[in-house]
């Protein structure tokens, strides 16, 4: 009885507030828009049996998404921005994680805390901080003008470059932590053995360290890529009008155009795109856990 209660309460909560809402999104994505509140006309009734249900399905919103090139351009450019910034985050994050793993034992808890601390401070504030730095009169341009590297302020804010900087900055802890965890577990004598056997330090790093931290690299990349794909705050605060990202499109479709069926269809397709990386990520995590035990 107690066991039943223990399972049933969180289960019912998640079913009602996680799974059911998704089914509703799916249902509304197949509905027609209407000027009313709520602004859509349900396309079908569940009560009429499965055949009537299937024959009523209306893929209009989805064909609309395919025909209007704004949407698929937004999906493609989100994929491209998310992928590029994942690679950039890896390139910035790996040396930091590597340095942390090689730091003296007694420093490591402090370094860990320094990486985690930004993660606890407001995401919004961390993105906002870059607005002041990247603007034309901002700190970065002032600094570059002062050093004489440039003679005119660079337009960085409201461009896709600013979005890359924002994503790398805010998601960096997600990349560092899993890689650090993998590197810290690694036995340093393996590297020494490789060097003893005639590897240079660089090739020992390439042939031993990188493969052994593969699990951490994969986990970090997914942790950056998946949320970056649907990012809304960063493109809307740092990006320009030409920065197309699907999270922003969904938001505008919903709040500005009030077209709920299309917003729902956008969400359904975004989810379908993300299912592949999400499943791969879960597999990787399971493999890592099994490797530990």
């Amino acid at each position: 009885m107690r066991r039943f209660f223990l399972i049933a309460v969180p289960y019912a909560w998640l079913l009602a507030l996680f799974l059911v809402p998704f089914l509703i999104v799916l249902k509304i994505s197949l509905s027609d828009a209407a000027i009313a509140l709520p602004p859509y006309v349900p396309q079908f009734e569940w009560s009429e049996g499965i055949r009537a249900f299937v024959s009523q399905l209306d893929l209009e919103n989805f064909t609309w998404l395919i025909e209007d090139d704004l949407y698929w351009k937004a999906y493609l450019s989100s994929l491209q921005i998310a992928a590029t910034s994942t690679v950039l985050t890896l390139m910035v994050g790996y040396p930091i994680a590597y340095g942390m793993a090689r730091a003296p034992q007694e420093w490591r808890p402090t370094l860990m805390m320094l990486v985690i601390l930004p993660f606890w401070t407001s995401f919004l504030i961390r993105v906002y901080a870059w607005k002041g730095i990247l603007s034309n009169e901002g700190f970065l341009n002032q600094f570059l003008l002062w050093t004489g590297v440039i003679s005119e302020p660079l337009q960085i804010l409201n461009t896709t470059t600013a979005v890359y900087i924002g994503i790398v900055y805010t998601y960096l802890p997600f990349m560092i932590l899993p890689i650090y965890a993998a590197l810290e577990r690694m036995d340093d004598s393996l590297n020494e053995a490789a060097e003893d056997l005639g590897c240079s330090r660089l090739s020992a790093f390439w042939l031993v360290t990188i493969p052994l931290s593969k699990g951490g690299i994969i986990a970090g990349c997914f942790l950056v890529f998946i949320p970056a794909m649907g990012e809304f705050v960063i493109p809307s605060l740092l990006g320009g009008s030409d920065t197309l990202m699907i999270g922003k499109v969904l938001w505008e479709e919903f709040f500005s155009n009030r077209d709920w069926p299309v917003a729902s269809a956008v969400a359904v397709i975004l989810l379908l795109i993300l299912v592949v990386p999400i499943v791969l990520f879960q597999r990787n995590q399971q493999k890592e856990q099994e490797g530990e035990t």
């Binding site: 107690r2 223990l6 399972i7 969180p10 289960y11 909560w13 998640l14 079913l15 507030l17 996680f18 799974l19 059911v20 809402p21 509703i24 999104v25 709520p38 994050g93 040396p95 590597y98 340095g99 942390m100 090689r102 808890p109 805390m113 990486v115 985690i116 601390l117 606890w120 401070t121 407001s122 919004l124 504030i125 906002y128 901080a129 607005k131 002041g132 730095i133 603007s135 901002g138 700190f139 002032q142 900055y169 960096l172 997914f222 942790l223 998946i226 949320p227 649907g230 809304f232 705050v233 809307s236 605060l237 999270g247 969904l250 938001w251 709920w260 969400a267 993300l274 999400i278 879960q282």
Partner: protein, 272 residues
């Protein structure tokens, strides 16, 4: 013996500079006399004064704290239950679905979660406001709590619980007297995580709130969309300060708890 090479030192220095300089600049300019956030015009705390006069901002802060306390508390209870189920309940009908629903919200884009919850609330005719934000935040925060708690539950020695049961404890007593004290640090950090996630959330709150309740992130977002303002810098500085103090305190407390626990476990081993 591990040694820091020059490369390691450089990458650590540059890395932490990258992580911290933007926030330091933000804090610095919150004390700027000028309204222009990019030109230094002397030290002043006037923006903090103006912030304290800003009724709308204070109201939003109060709503945010209320939502965060309520949602993180419910999320901690539900998340701990879910973690217990995941780690200890073995097989049951729909276990895969259950663990899927625990892990999926962690990686779900916020725009989708927000949209789906809003459509649910409208579908069942619930008025949007504080209650709906609390429900929404509880749902995603409980997943984070259950991940944190279940990793602790999975690593501690289950024979301690079995010993308590053998010695005549009921299941409830064993949980309260043995399990709960051991997983308490994880439960506390789960609560803190849920609390900050709720404080921080813009997207889900924007979808699930109505005109009656505006949270601080929503307020900040609409203010900074237009540009940079020293008042927002002042507010950000206060928030960064609170979080920094909180995180440092929490890590000191948990460190002490860990040391104490290890000592007790050692003593227990010696006593046998």
């Amino acid at each position: 013996m591990k040694r820091l090479s020059a490369f390691n030192v450089v990458s650590l220095t540059l890395g932490f500079a990258f992580l911290y300089i933007p926030m330091l600049i933000l804090i610095l300019f919150s004390f700027n006399e000028s309204k222009l956030v990019t030109v230094w015009a002397g030290f002043s705390t006037k923006w903090y004064g103006e912030l304290m006069q800003n009724e709308a901002m204070l109201d939003a802060a109060w709503v945010t704290i209320k939502v965060a306390v309520m949602s993180s508390t419910i999320a901690t209870v539900l998340g701990t239950m879910a973690a217990y189920v995941l780690v200890r309940s073995g097989r049951f009908l729909g276990r895969t679905l259950f663990s899927g629903m625990i892990y999926a919200p962690l990686v779900m884009p916020e725009v989708i979660t927000g949209l789906s919850l809003l459509l649910l609330f409208i579908g069942i005719g619930l008025d949007r406001g504080v209650l709906t934000i609390v429900l929404a935040h509880t749902t995603f925060a409980m997943c984070y709590v259950s991940v944190v708690v279940s990793s602790r539950l999975a690593t501690f020695d289950q024979s301690l619980e079995e010993a308590a049961l053998d010695l005549g404890c009921s299941q409830a007593q064993a949980f309260r007297l043995v399990t709960l004290p051991i997983i308490a640090p994880a439960v506390v950090s789960g609560w803190l995580l849920a609390f900050t996630l709720s404080l921080d959330d813009l997207v889900i709150a924007s979808f699930t709130t109505g005109p009656a309740a505006t949270t601080l992130p929503i307020k900040i977002f609409s203010a900074v969309r237009l540009g940079v303002s020293p008042e927002i810098n002042a507010l950000s500085t206060l928030m960064i300060g609170v979080v920094t103090v909180g995180v440092i305190c929490a890590s000191l407390v948990s460190k002490r708890a860990l040391v104490k626990q290890q000592k007790e476990e050692q003593q227990a081993v010696h006593a046998t």
